[in-house]
């Protein structure tokens, strides 16, 4: 115990003396949490619209003003022909072309039907999909208005209509920040927990200090605990800091209890620390450790369900997310913060991550050798 105490004392001294680590621990979470959620915005706004109006009727004008009034579309230009409008798309001045044919109004009134043509620049798939969906719903709405105008009262509507009203549970305002901030916080905790720990151990290898430690009676478990405990505490600290930022900058107050979050985080940190330890046993320079960490971070984020939903991934990728501890923590954070889940609800998550922690730490301890 006494040895462990001194190892920890030494470790904390080194951490607090390293300005780079301090910056990573204190400043990075603040900045990332304050800036990233603003940039990682799912809503698509300012879709640039080119209109080709062959009709020049009051209905076509009404339609266009309805579209531009929605706030999602920015009218780029009126064009004389589809060809001209396409050129606007090619120059990237427009994302979407709406062509209104001749006799649009006339057909609508006389024949009860008319056509519209929409062309979309699909280079950015998300923007194209959302843009066409918005536009279609606006046109549908317009359609309803027109119909109302021409239906003769007191005639009953000849067609039955299904009305859909949705109620957004857990995030009624559909505020994507409630969804992103907890996720980004998980990534930050992972970063501190696993990568700082592995870099720290590899640094001892690189500088050669581990050699000096290895000839001393310091036991393997003492050395490993001496490395894990500081970064475990730092990880929990970053989590606290991040929850504070979420509360004061975004007004996100977890619906569930903080206790649940901390219990899960404590176990989760064990798993990522085990991973960091494992990386460090296979690397002999900090450069190697950084490159491996970078690679794994990408995998963690992309297969963690932070930006894209896991349910829409191909099946093999869904299997990979099952061994990604980060995906569990992101899920748990969202469950607890938004839905107010308790320990009983996240029991499976907790046990799985605990299993991953035991596995990774066990593997790391077995492959860590004091002598070669």
């Amino acid at each position: 115990m006494r040895t462990l105490k001194f190892l920890l004392q030494k470790e904390f001294r080194q951490i607090f003396r390293n300005p780079a680590i301090l910056r990573i621990i204190f400043v990075m979470p603040m900045i990332q949490l304050l800036i990233l959620p603003l940039a990682a915005d799912y809503e698509v706004k300012n879709i640039k619209l080119a209109v080709v109006d062959h009709d020049h009727s009051s209905y076509s004008r009404q339609l266009i003003s309805k579209i531009t009034a929605s706030g999602y579309f920015k009218l780029d230009n009126y064009n004389g022909s589809y060809k001209e409008a396409l050129q606007e798309v090619e120059k990237d001045h427009a994302d979407l072309v709406l062509e209104i044919p001749d006799h649009f109004e006339k057909n609508l009134v006389k024949e009860d039907a008319s056509t519209l043509f929409i062309a979309i620049n699909a280079i950015n798939g998300v923007k194209a999909g959302l843009g066409s969906a918005y536009l279609q719903s606006i046109i549908r709405d317009f359609n309803g208005q027109v119909r109302e105008e021409w239906v003769q009262f007191p005639r009953f509507s000849p067609e039955t209509q299904v009305m859909v009203t949705s109620s957004n549970w857990f995030n009624p305002m559909m505020n994507y920040r409630y969804f992103m901030v907890p996720g980004i916080l998980v990534i930050l905790v992972t970063l501190v927990g696993s990568f700082l720990a592995s870099l720290n151990i590899v640094k001892e290898k690189e500088v050669g200090t581990i050699e000096q430690i290895n000839v001393t009676p310091v036991r393997k478990y003492q050395f490993i605990l001496g490395k894990l405990i500081p970064f475990w505490l730092l990880g929990l600290f970053v989590l606290t800091l991040g929850l504070g930022v979420a509360r004061f900058a975004y007004g996100i107050i977890p619906a569930g209890s903080l206790f649940t979050i901390y219990v899960f985080a404590a176990v989760f940190l064990l798993a990522v620390l085990g991973l960091g330890l494992l990386v460090s046993t296979f690397c002999s320079t900090q450069q190697q450790a950084i490159l491996i960490s970078f690679f794994m971070m990408m995998v963690f984020i992309l297969l963690g369900g932070l930006y894209t939903s896991i349910e829409s991934m191909p099946e093999w990728a869904q299997w990979l997310t099952k061994i990604n501890p980060v995906s569990y923590f992101i899920d748990v954070m969202r469950m607890v913060v938004l839905k107010g889940s308790g320990l009983a609800d996240i029991k499976t998550h907790l046990l799985t991550v605990f299993g991953i922690a035991v596995l990774l730490n066990g593997w790391a301890v077995v492959s860590y050798r004091k002598r070669s």
Binding site: T3, R13, Q212, N214, P217, R371, S372
Partner: protein
């Protein structure tokens, strides 16, 4: 039972195809309280041997013991009673002098005060800088700190891997004086060095080359083994002189040695050397010298190559 015994130690590096033999069956003993030097050029296997003896590396064959404990079975006991100073400075550069020393004292379950007597002479020289970060010390001071840290738990055997490499001449001299002082306290010291001139300061030395020990003896004993007359010669065209000496009938070996060339004579070769020096028609100088360890090393290497 000696303080250190090495019996037929073999160490390979690399996989089967590209296997390099670093140590080819070494054997020697070091007595308690001895200052023992391992002398050899870079790549002779000195560091590998030290790493085996300090339980950091497993030998592929052979046995070794330190202070009566086997390096494989009783490695825990050995780690408690040896001090190791690696060739590369490997203390915590971001901790201060005092913190480094304190750290190494505590992980050996002791305190600086308890063994202060032992390190006093060395540590007192760096004590004025005790709050300075170890990384900011000069080379000589780093080395004194490293030695203090290796000694703070009063080891019975001290391993110093090339402690004087890259250190200035004055600090080297000081360092050897410190070792002589430590020896008086009864600590067995194994020190490796590529510098032949340092051999004379050891009680006994082992000359190493390519993973083999060529000779183990006292410095005087090694010099006595030389057993042939040695001349130092010099004239104005040293390159030509060396070639002439090498091709001379009465000469066994000739090599540059400082400002002179050293010429190992065959019995009665003196006259032939003299003739050549005269023939070159240049002012020259020649006088017999007593061989030192470097001469012996050259001779041993030559014998080995000749076999």
């Amino acid at each position: 039972m000696g303080a250190v015994t090495v019996d037929n130690i073999v160490k390979f590096y690399g996989k089967k195809e590209a296997r390099v033999t670093a140590l080819q069956g070494l054997s020697f003993d070091v007595q308690k309280g001895e200052l023992f030097g391992l002398i050899g050029p870079d790549g002779a296997g000195k560091t590998s041997l030290f790493r085996i003896l300090t339980t950091l590396l497993l030998a592929d064959a052979g046995t070794a013991s330190v202070d009566g404990f086997d390096v494989v079975k009783d490695y825990k006991a050995i780690r408690n009673r040896v001090g190791y100073m690696p060739g590369r400075f490997s203390l915590y550069q971001d901790l201060s002098v005092r913190e480094n020393l304190e750290f190494f004292a505590t992980i050996f379950n002791t305190t600086i005060e308890e063994n202060y007597e032992l390190v006093k002479d060395i540590y007192s020289q760096i004590e004025p800088f005790r709050d300075r970060k170890a990384g900011k010390l000069s080379g000589g001071m780093k080395q004194k700190l490293a030695l203090s840290c290796a000694l703070i738990h009063r080891p019975s055997v001290l391993f110093l891997d090339e402690p004087t490499t890259g250190v200035d001449a004055v600090s080297r001299k000081e360092f050897w004086e410190m070792l002589a002082h430590l020896k008086q306290q009864g600590i067995t010291i194994l020190v490796s060095t590529p510098y032949m001139d340092e051999a004379a300061r050891c009680d006994r030395v082992a000359l190493m080359q390519e993973g083999k020990i060529m000779s183990v003896n006292t410095p005087a004993g090694i010099v006595n083994e030389f057993g042939r007359p040695l001349l130092a010669v010099k004239n104005t065209n040293m390159l030509q002189l060396l070639q002439a000496m090498k091709s001379c009938e009465g000469v066994e070996d000739a090599y540059p040695f400082g400002e002179y060339h050293h010429v190992v004579l065959k019995p009665g070769g003196e006259a032939a050397v003299k003739t050549i020096l005269e023939q070159m028609k240049m002012p020259y100088e020649q006088h017999p010298v007593t061989p030192d360890v470097e001469d012996c090393f050259m001779a041993l290497m030559r014998n080995k190559d000749g076999q």
